[in-house]
């Protein structure tokens, strides 16, 4: 159970304009700007939930994760993770959590992964039997095998990230924080990592909080999303519902030969008029049309188009989650 109530965090950032004169000026008198990384954040996450934490760069995602994992002390507000205040009872608190920072490494660079794992085992005082069990499970699910005997420096990014995730789970944490776990991974590794997280949640009931810019991660893993922007929680809701409100717009891609069709109300061309005119000279082309389903049904739009020209090919697509997020960012002006 994670309860966050009215948490705020402000950073002081030294800012100045470019140039020597400005540099000298700031040498004598430095101007700080207060940046509100988190501004009155509240949310609750239940046991066994998987939550996607999204927002543009600099929105405060990582700051939240750092506060929840006891690294950062907030300026105000409170936060309880399984009944403990992370930054006050750091040592007790971190026993129950696992953290993966996608951009950092917890593995020792020059020794085999297994050495790092054994150190983590001893630091967390994991019982030998439990360690063996976890290790064999992780080895199988994350396809570690031979990798474990290789020094971290000789692994590819994808292999290393799998090892990092394994390292964070050796002590069977109840809560797993993943800060951009799939950053820089290829498609195969991404899918492996996602399946693994799902499996872990299903079997062990691990609570997972995930920050990412990869919307496929969110789609594959979470049912609930928290949207943060400019340090505030803007939206806390069900992924499907959010998608529903934003997928009113369907995208039609039409290949035609003959006259350029005119648009009806509720239909909008995504390309510029100029390009359409150039295309029409050759008598055939491709149009991308946004159809607002509140005004016009997709089938009506198609029949309207086919009455004007000959359609050789057509495809209909809903808004992708990426579009949804862009829509959300626009709506909330972040």
């Amino acid at each position: 159970m994670i309860e966050v109530t009215r948490v705020t965090k402000t950073f002081k950032v030294a800012r100045r304009s470019a140039g020597l004169k400005e540099a000298l000026k700031s040498f004598v008198h430095r101007q700080y700007q207060e940046v509100r990384a988190l501004n009155d954040i509240s949310f609750t996450i239940g046991d066994g939930e998987m939550v996607g934490y999204i927002g543009p760069n600099g929105a405060g995602k990582s700051s939240t994760i750092k506060i929840l994992s006891g690294i950062l002390t907030p300026d105000g507000g409170n936060c309880l993770v399984n009944g403990k205040v992370p930054w006050k009872e750091r040592v007790e608190h971190v026993k129950d959590i696992g953290v993966v920072f996608g951009q950092r490494s917890q593995l020792w660079w020059d020794v085999p992964i297994l050495d790092s794992y054994e150190l983590i085992r001893d630091i967390y005082r994991v019982k030998e039997a439990e360690y063996r069990k976890n290790l064999s499970e992780l080895t199988e699910l994350l396809d570690l095998g031979e990798i474990l005997r290789t020094p971290a420096r000789q692994l590819s990014l994808g292999q290393r990230m799998r090892c990092e995730i394994g390292a964070s789970l050796l002590h069977s944490p109840k809560i797993l924080f993943l800060d951009e776990p799939t950053i820089g991974l290829d498609a195969v590794s991404k899918i492996a990592v996602r399946n693994f997280i799902l499996e872990r949640n299903r079997q062990h009931g691990t609570t997972v909080i995930l920050t990412t810019h990869d919307m496929q991660d969110i789609e594959a893993l979470t049912k609930r999303i928290l949207l943060i922007g400019k340090g505030k929680i803007l939206l806390d809701g069900n992924l499907e519902e959010v998608k529903g409100t934003f997928s009113k717009v369907k995208q039609l891609t039409v290949q035609y030969s003959g006259a350029v069709p005119k648009m009806a109300e509720g239909m909008r061309l995504s390309v510029k008029e100029q390009e359409v005119r150039e295309q029409s000279l050759s008598g055939q082309g491709i149009l991308t049309i946004q159809v607002d389903t509140d005004v016009l049904k997709v089938s009506e739009a198609i029949s309207y188009l086919s009455s004007q020209t000959e359609i050789t090919d057509i495809s209909v697509a809903g808004a992708s989650l990426d579009d949804v997020v862009v829509g959300l960012y626009k709506q909330y002006e972040i």
């Binding site: 690294i71 002390t73 953290v99 950092r104 020792w108 630091i123």
Partner: protein
């Protein structure tokens, strides 16, 4: 305790993997020790009476210093720790159910010991075999040997406790270069690494002898050579215990203060 032992072990084995570095270190320290002794010999030949230390005590001092370099040199900082702090990777260290201070202290002990083990013995063996008065002579009696070992360990702890403070300062300064250079330069002089402390002007030497730097290599090496005797030994050891406690407490306090306002850098 087991977690610290385990931490010690991984850091120790880590240190042992760098064999070429150890070999290069041994050669350098031999050359350095020999040069230093030759230089002092020239001075001593000119006027033996005007020097505060016996020549054979001085050569023992220099050889032990070279052999135990990894234990005592303040500038043997662990660069990885600076990197951890500056790059923000300290985030992972903070996610461990373990005291950060103790973990880093252990880590420093292991690094220095692993370096010292590889380098000390070849130098010690050759230095013992060198002819009098250029070589390393054995301690005068068992009492000197005993107090040498005690003060050796204390000095080791004082050095690390001092280094810990330097690491922790980096939480505030963003770059580690300045603190590192400053502390290296000051400690090199005041610990007696360049010239032994008895060679300092009397008044200055008096003040310096109470600083934490004098509780580092100065004391054990001079007890070994018989330069410090009797009640002076106990006084020195007490001072070492004091500095060890004071530096550890200061370091712990600074770290807890730093962690409360720490900004983990780089997103």
């Amino acid at each position: 305790m087991k977690k610290y032992l385990s931490f010690f072990r991984i850091r120790f084995t880590y240190g042992l993997t760098y064999r070429a570095a150890a070999l290069a270190g041994i050669v350098t320290q031999f050359a350095w020790g020999a040069l230093e002794i030759l230089m002092f010999k020239a001075f001593y030949d000119y006027n033996r009476a005007s020097f505060p230390m016996d020549f054979s005590a001085l050569t023992s001092y220099i050889w032990l210093q070279q052999a135990l370099l990894a234990l005592y040199m303040v500038w043997f900082f662990e660069l990885e720790l600076f990197d951890l702090i500056v790059s923000g990777n300290v985030a992972y260290e903070l996610c461990r159910p373990i005291s950060l201070y103790n973990m880093w202290f252990t880590r420093n002990m292991a690094t220095r010991l692993s370096k010292a083990v590889l380098r000390a013995f070849p130098i010690l063996i050759v230095a013992v075999l060198l002819p009098e008065p250029y070589g390393l002579s054995l301690p005068k009696d068992t009492k000197a040997a005993f107090w040498f070992l005690i003060s050796l360990m204390l000095a080791f702890l004082v050095v690390i406790a001092f280094c810990m403070i330097v690491y922790i300062i980096c939480f505030y300064t963003i770059s580690s270069l300045g603190v590192r250079l400053l502390t290296s330069a000051i400690s090199e002089l005041l610990t007696g690494a360049v010239i032994p402390l008895p060679f300092f002007p009397e008044k200055l030497g008096k003040v310096v002898s109470y600083l934490p730097f004098a509780s580092m290599q100065n004391l054990p090496l001079r007890i070994y050579g018989g330069d410090i005797l009797g009640s002076e030994i106990y006084k020195g050891i007490l001072l070492q215990v004091f500095w060890c406690a004071a530096l550890v407490l200061t370091g712990k306090w600074m770290l807890s203060h730093a962690l409360h306002k720490v900004t983990v850098q780089g997103g």
